[in-house]
């Protein structure tokens, strides 16, 4: 009987250890730690979405298929002014209802000297969105809108907001304004 317990304990420990190894590999870089501190200062109840917030199917897809593990942040120059901007998915706790979580998509436009203009674009509370949203970087390219068939030329990088296996939009800047192309629906 004791042997059985030892075997079960070893199996649980191995599973937990494997999980923590994956999570530790997803630690953000120095720049992201800096932006995380800025976010924490402005919105203490919010954190950048991490891989462990997502369902197992999406975690596996992100690691194996896309080879990246930062689903909640895309650091890049979206506006083309030479200053780094950040697209982020934030998980925010509700102060009045601690069990409720809201997810928010925001683009922080860099102004230099660690100053940012905050642009909140969308928010979600449903389970499907909370488990399945992630961001990816889109290099300058030509994209086609699935709804109206129109082509859009991205002169700067864009950020793709994905609902895993369901829908995706690419957000980009044009003449200082945020626009999007529906690339999957």
């Amino acid at each position: 009987m004791k042997k059985l317990f030892v075997i079960i304990a070893v199996l649980f420990y191995s599973a937990a250890h494997a999980q923590s190894a994956e999570v530790s590999a997803a630690k953000p870089t120095l720049n992201e730690i800096n932006i995380e501190a800025i976010i924490n200062q402005k919105y203490p109840s919010c954190k950048i979405l991490s891989p462990t917030d997502l369902n197992e199917g999406l975690q596996s897809y992100l690691i194996k298929s896309l080879g990246h593990q930062t689903p909640g942040i895309v650091p890049t120059d979206l506006t083309g002014d030479g200053i780094k901007d950040y697209a982020v998915l934030l998980r925010c706790k509700n102060k009045k209802a601690p069990n409720r979580v809201t997810e928010k998509f925001a683009i922080l436009v860099g102004k230099g000297n660690n100053k940012y203009d905050w642009n909140f674009i969308a928010k979600w509370e449903d389970k499907l969105s909370l488990d399945n949203l992630y961001l990816t970087l889109i290099e300058p390219s030509t994209l086609k809108d699935v709804n109206d068939g129109k082509e859009v030329q991205l002169t700067n990088a864009g950020v793709e907001l994905n609902l895993f296996e369901a829908a995706a939009r690419v957000y980009y800047f044009e003449n200082g304004k945020i626009k999007f192309v529906q690339v999957s629906d």
Binding site: A122, S129, A166, S184
Partner: protein
């Protein structure tokens, strides 16, 4: 003695519970029936629940199954999906249905997901299925739009006249491939 008995009962209980959860079977067969496609290794089983993954998927009607958190699509789409489920001989995994959230197109409440007139058929949840067969099945089952997108196939009960690329009537359907 007492603690030994308690531990033994706990372990047996754990083992029984584990076996019951892992079996994940209906006690009656799937009403779609047996139309297995053994050539692709995607044979269905009449007593399998939610593609043998009851934690991640739900299958309230014992037919195709939705991913956890996905609201049901409208009646016309569900009828089409039931038909596709039978046509493809598999327990079809649906990753998008009646949800009306961004990044879906939420601007038009009369079409697409916001109107319950669309569904997304996940590549990952339907491993082994060939895109051509999915689109052919969609055409046979009355869908008007079908298109392969990034990580899923999108089916709709209407076409978008401004963009004919997913118009299923224009799809040259060779169901043997």
């Amino acid at each position: 003695m007492l603690s030994s008995t308690y531990i033994r009962i706990t372990v047996i209980g754990f083992a029984l519970c584990f076996a019951t959860t892992a079996s994940a079977r209906y006690i009656e067969s799937d009403p779609v029936g047996l139309t297995a496609d053994n050539q692709n290794g995607t044979a269905n089983h009449l007593y399998v629940y939610a593609n043998n993954n009851p934690i991640a998927y739900i299958d309230p009607k014992g037919l195709f199954h939705y991913k956890d958190g996905v609201p049901a699509a409208g009646a016309e789409v569900e009828a089409g999906l039931r038909c596709m489920d039978k046509e493809l001989g598999t327990d079809l995994g649906i990753s998008g249905g009646g949800e009306c959230v961004e990044p879906h197109n939420t601007a038009d409440a009369t079409r697409g997901h916001c109107a319950g007139k669309a569904a997304d058929i996940s590549d990952r949840m339907n491993s082994g299925l060939i895109v051509n067969k999915v689109i052919c099945a969609a055409k046979k089952c009355g869908f008007k739009y079908a298109k392969k997108e990034k990580d899923h196939a999108d089916v709709k009960t209407h076409t978008d006249l401004a963009n004919r690329s997913g118009d299923i009537s224009q799809y040259n359907c060779d169901c043997s491939k």
